[in-house]
Amino acid sequence: MLKVSDLSIAYTHQEHTLRAVDQLSFELQAGETLGIVGESGSGKSQTLLALLGLLRKNAQIQGEIVFQGKALLQQTEKQWQQIRGKEISMIFQDPMTALNPYLTIGTQLIEVLQHHEQLSYAAAKARTLDMLDQVQIATPKTRLTQYPHECSGGMRQRIMIAMALLCKPTLLLADEPTTALDVTIAAQIIALLKELQRQHQMAIIFVSHNLGVVAQLCQKVHVMYQGKVLEQAKTSELFKHPQHAYTKRLLAALYREDR
């Protein structure tokens, strides 16, 4: 469904060239979950932005991204607008900065459906309420009229997830969706994502710096460092037999109950 081959992203500043992503290749089938693990600056977020066509204009992109037969890197801005939010959507790390503080939650969510599926306001509202219910928001009707600051962090992240899933995308990108949350709330969000993936049969690319979180959700893991993939393996294999020294160090930094 998604095929990325030899993707390289570079930025040039004066004479220096920064290779943010270097020769990245992977494939993803429908319903699969891929985890990308790495430190800050390892190119995880750049990869996701490339998949959404949101890279800065001065980025030099090479390689190929094919998503359901479409070459994503050759899309015009107009074509992108039909893909973003409808076929590929994204959950951002910090829900407070990703939601518009001036608009009610209802306005922001309903807009998505009106734009992509040309639904009437009433029909869009009904779908939105249904979706908020699916992400386990207790009183969806009152939430629609509230502003983002009136919700807690966990609630906002649920709203972000609802917004991303409104058009039933086939590919969901999640950029550290649990990093800004408390541990018990993060566990809830992961359980929710798992459940929604089972219902909607979508593919997820889940980016995190926390191997533990990735292990709960993903079948495959890529370990990235300075723009390169150091190791790619099935999750269970990676934790049993890490190959690369860097992966071993990442695993050693994790807490184990038996230690």
Binding site: S152, D182, T184, I185, A187, A191, N210, G212, Y255, E257
Partner: protein, 323 residues
């Protein structure tokens, strides 16, 4: 017993509704007692809004509205004047959460690290101070050649090392770390924790380590205190808390840590719902709104603390029932 806190209550004044309204207070920390031995580490863990940072501020005398007693050796920290605090600041220092925000962007690293010396050891000469700064930089793993650089030239991990150097330069005996690693990458976190452990051994530091991450707390603490909405839920030494946590909230916190080595483990006590607002705390046991084992009496009156052994204390009706 080097640090002893006795029934500490912390309040925050609320904004008045109108000019003649009565002053109202939010009760941020309620009836908290604990003590730490010299050279030991007490970990305080809890979710946002549980009062852990308020406790840290209270220990530094930065919290104006409090009742209860805080004893550091024979000094009563709860009613020290600003002047009495000055000599005590040599003993008690703090490391902050966001390393970059806690450093002055217009100071070089040398000035940043030297500043506490200027304030607390004015009797030292400039050369002695510089010598101590260089020694301290080496100690925290920074090359002294970097001393003329500015904070923005450093990575997050390096900035946190500067923060540690700055706190330790006055040779404190009590170090309070308020989420020192939560802004850092996993590998850097492990390095900083290792560094703090080594320094603690070398300098015989007493530490209070605050974090929302039991994973991090478990790596460094001797005793762990679990807080929820300003109340102590469970206090125990590390191994007891890991193997036989009694309070449902502690168990839920452990379960919420993803364990990659057993990813399919059943998360049976996954908590539902959100943390209630501290402005309107639930009646009875504050945890009852999310507790999987909630009973009618939990909603009426809060359970009292029960000592299960010399190293474990908790407040839950489940335990008093069993006895």
């Amino acid at each position: 017993m080097s640090l002893r806190v006795q029934s500490l209550n912390i309040y925050y004044p609320m904004q008045k509704q109108h000019m003649f309204a009565k002053e109202t207070y939010m009760h941020a920390v309620k009836d908290l007692s604990f003590s730490v031995e010299t050279g030991q580490t007490l970990g305080i863990v809890g979710e946002s809004g549980c009062g852990k940072s308020s406790v840290a501020r209270a220990l530094l005398g930065l919290q104006p509205h409090l009742t209860g007693e805080i004893w550091w050796h024979q000094h009563a920290l709860h009613d020290c004047s600003d002047q009495q605090w000055m000599p005590l600041r040599r003993d008690i220092q703090m490391i902050f959460q966001d390393p970059l925000a806690s450093l002055d962007p217009r100071f070089t690293i040398e000035q940043c690290i030297q500043e506490p010396l200027n304030a607390l050891y004015p009797e030292l000469t400039q050369i002695q101070k510089q010598h101590r700064v260089e020694k301290m930089m080496q100690r925290v793993g920074l090359s002294p050649e970097l001393k003329h650089r500015y904070p923005h030239e450093f990575s997050g991990g390096q900035c946190q090392r500067v923060g540690i150097a700055r706190a330790l330069i006055v040779e404190p005996k009590l170090l309070i770390c308020d989420e020192p690693v939560s802004a850092l990458d996993v590998l850097i976190q492990a390095q900083i924790i290792q560094l703090l452990k080594e320094l603690q051994q070398a300098l015989n530091l007493t530490m209070i380590f605050i974090s929302h991450d039991l994973n991090v707390i478990g790596q460094i603490s001797n005793q762990i205190m679990v807080m929820y909405l300003g109340r102590l839920m469970e206090w125990a030494d590390k191994t007891t808390l890991q193997t036989q946590a009694k309070h449902p909230y502690t168990q839920a916190l452990w379960n919420a840590i993803p364990n990659p080595f057993q990813p399919q483990r059943k998360t049976c006590t996954l908590l539902y719902g959100e943390i209630p607002s501290i402005l309107t705390p639930p009646s009875g046991c504050v945890f009852h709104t999310r507790c999987p084992y909630v009973m009618p009496q939990c909603k009426i009156s809060p359970p009292s603390y029960v000592s299960l052994s010399s190293t474990q204390k908790t407040a839950c009706y489940l335990i008093t029932q069993d006895k």
